[in-house]
């Protein structure tokens, strides 16, 4: 009983457990089912969950919309692959690679850490001066950062194979490791939201002037949030690269920004629970619609290929949520374990 009381008092622990239990059950059931298609879908969902959680850390707590993180997902993907790719494959897929990188061959986890590190360090260096901007200027700069990163990825053929597909990456990301990483990231995000820096960041979101007046170093906490988000994104990029095994720069651009943003907005950016709910729901919606699209194409219902229906309806649902339920489905609240009935009787007034 004491342990339960403790659990109810600790918001971080409580919410973490409330979020983890259904995710563990889901991952376990899918793993047990042995269904390969289902496993792929849920693995992608967990990779998305890392991206959405990262976006929640910055956007949810600071109130600033960001586009840049998907650029850092791209940096993470390419940087990881640069270190994990087999030298023989490199000779084929990256023919103009710099000499000193040609023999480099690290195990997956080492490469993933380095890739994440590169993304995080780049983010840390370029983002500090940007943190004093807000509103339109902040949005346009984060958009500009995305465009710049995309342009560099597309044209730096030596390390990225240019706009063409980079292929030959080993499949290293599976359901078990993707879900594990996503859950660790989730718990950290829940903790961060309640931590001192997280609360300061939320204070600066609710009232910039008042927060600074009581001594919040807004630039520093925003910067911390931004760098964390980019770290999450770079990590997710590395995982994604080793899941999909061949990819091109276009996969780290506006379409991906839209999906990740839709997940967070539909779930509700104000809480980590919102990130989880949004990711799960949008994944369900997308996969359902995509299956429907495939079925329609098979049946030749409209005489041609049905393309874009999924994103079209997703965009409409996102607009509907923004109009009807602006805080997202979770309205900024965190999920809690339903312990009230157990402990209520013993709670002192």
């Amino acid at each position: 009983m004491n342990a339960l009381r403790q659990l109810e008092k600790s918001a971080v622990l409580n919410t973490s457990i409330a979020l983890l239990i259904p995710l563990i059950v889901l991952a376990g059931l899918v793993e047990l089912s042995g269904d390969l298609l289902l496993e792929r879908i849920v693995t992608v969902m967990f990779i998305h969950l890392i991206l959405v959680t990262g976006l929640q850390i910055f956007m949810g707590n600071s109130g600033i919309v960001s586009f840049a993180h998907i650029g850092f997902m791209g940096i993470g993907a390419y940087a990881t692959v640069l270190f994990s790719l087999d030298p023989e494959v490199k000779a084929m897929t990256l023919r103009h690679l710099y000499e000193f990188l040609k023999p480099v061959h690290l195990p997956f986890w080492g490469a993933l850490l380095i890739g994440t590190g590169i993304g995080t360090v780049v983010a840390a260096i370029i983002s500090y001066p940007l943190m004093r901007l807000h509103d339109a200027a902040a949005v346009i700069t984060s958009f500009a950062v995305l465009v710049v990163i995309h342009d560099i990825i597309v044209h730096w053929s030596e390390v990225t194979n240019g706009p063409r597909t980079l292929f030959g990456v080993e499949r290293e990301t599976f359901l078990w490791n993707a879900s594990l990483c996503a859950m660790v990231g989730l718990v950290f995000a829940v903790w961060f939201r309640e931590s001192k820096a997280g609360m300061q960041l939320r204070a600066s979101r609710d009232d910039r002037m008042a927060a600074q007046a009581v001594g919040v170093n807004m630039l520093a906490v925003r910067w911390l949030g931004f760098v964390l988000m980019c770290g999450y994104a770079a990590f997710a990029g590395g995982l994604f690269a080793h899941f999909i095994t061949s990819f091109q720069p276009g996969q780290f651009y506006l379409a991906e920004v839209f999906v990740v943003l839709a997940m967070l907005v539909i779930g509700g950016p104000g809480s980590v629970s919102g990130a989880v709910v949004g990711t799960v729901l949008v994944t369900l919606l997308r996969e359902g619609l995509r299956a429907g699209e495939a079925q329609m194409n098979l049946m030749q219902l409209f005489g041609g290929q049905v393309v874009g229906l999924t994103e079209f309806l997703l965009a409409i649902s996102m607009i509907a949520i923004l109009i009807l339920r602006p805080g997202g489905l979770m309205q900024g609240r965190e999920l809690r374990l339903p312990l009230g009935s157990v402990t209520a009787a013993r709670r002192p007034l």
Binding site: L133, V147, G308
Partner: protein
């Protein structure tokens, strides 16, 4: 003589491209000035004009009518997006409006994919657009001169509207102090609706010449004009209408100078250069090149 010709050609290139950029920037800034909304769905106004032209291609209508219809579709789209998507979220927050505009942009792009085609479609162009003139031994496409003429006329008309009509004065007042303007009895919906319609008119007009350059329309065609409008407004200062126009011409000058003088190895990264410039302007001179007041 060769030198004069080169300078003349460069000037016409800059002016014709700059005129289109200026109109684009103006359409973006007129909405930003009133609503503080960075409208991500702005590029799609160009796209819908392109698809209208494509769909009208088989009809026997003269091109001028097709062009007018295309511009009207841009205006209608701009107005309808405001009516259906932006108006309900207007009272919430800037962030909500911004995300809505991004969603509207994605929705329109995918609607084009879904209902027309994901592949590039040929846009009909008037005979006039293919005429090449020879001035000072240089070949100059006539459509560039038309673009300059039409843009300057439109800019002049727009300036007249803002300066001389009650609607124009109300628009300027709203861009300056929106709340105060509403208190003085100017209906907000009228002003915002008009602003969106004007932005559709500008985008639709640009579209006609834009497709004169590209010749075909794709669902993603709006991205580049959108980026152009962003950069131009940032160069000119986000709040100034005059600044937006100047920003458009400056961007065209930068772009033309880059493609003429930058070595090919660096030319590849010109987009990265331009957007790095944008970041620096926003950081160090957020009011842009033109300081008002």
């Amino acid at each position: 003589m060769g030198n004069v010709g080169a300078i003349l050609q460069f000037t016409i290139d800059v002016l014709s491209l700059g005129s289109l950029y200026a109109l684009m920037a103006l359409g973006l800034v007129i909405i930003y000035g009133i609503l503080r909304l960075v409208n991500f769905a702005y590029g799609e106004l160009i796209m819908v004009a392109g698809y209208t032209l494509f769909l009208l291609h088989p009809t026997p209508l003269p091109w001028l009518i097709m062009g007018l219809l295309a511009v009207s579709v841009s205006v209608a789209t701009a107005y309808l997006t405001e009516r259906i998507a932006f108006r309900p979220v207007r009272e919430q927050s800037l962030t909500a409006m911004l995300i809505t505009s991004f969603a509207v942009s994605t929705m329109l792009q995918n609607a084009a994919m879904l209902f027309v085609s994901p592949r590039a479609k040929v846009v009909p162009l008037p005979e006039l657009f293919t005429v090449q003139l020879t001035i000072a031994e240089r070949i100059v496409p006539l459509r560039n001169l038309i673009a300059i003429g039409v843009s300057v006329a439109l800019l002049a008309l727009f300036a007249l509207l803002l300066k001389r009509t009650i609607l124009g004065i109300a628009l300027r007042a709203a861009a300056d102090r929106f709340t105060m303007t509403r208190m003085l009895g100017i209906p907000a919906n009228l002003i915002i609706g008009t602003a969106f319609a004007i932005s559709g008119l500008l985008a639709g007009t640009v579209a006609l010449f834009w497709f004169g350059r590209t010749g075909s329309v794709t669902p993603e065609i709006g991205l580049w004009p959108l980026l152009v409008a962003f950069v131009s407004t940032v160069i000119g200062g986000m709040r100034s209408l005059l600044g937006a126009v100047v920003g458009g011409y400056v961007l065209a000058l930068i772009q033309m100078a880059f493609s003429n003088f930058l070595p090919p190895a660096l030319l590849e990264f010109r987009v990265a250069f331009v957007f790095t410039l944008v970041i620096f302007i926003l950081l160090f001179r957020p009011e842009g090149l033109i300081r008002e007041r």
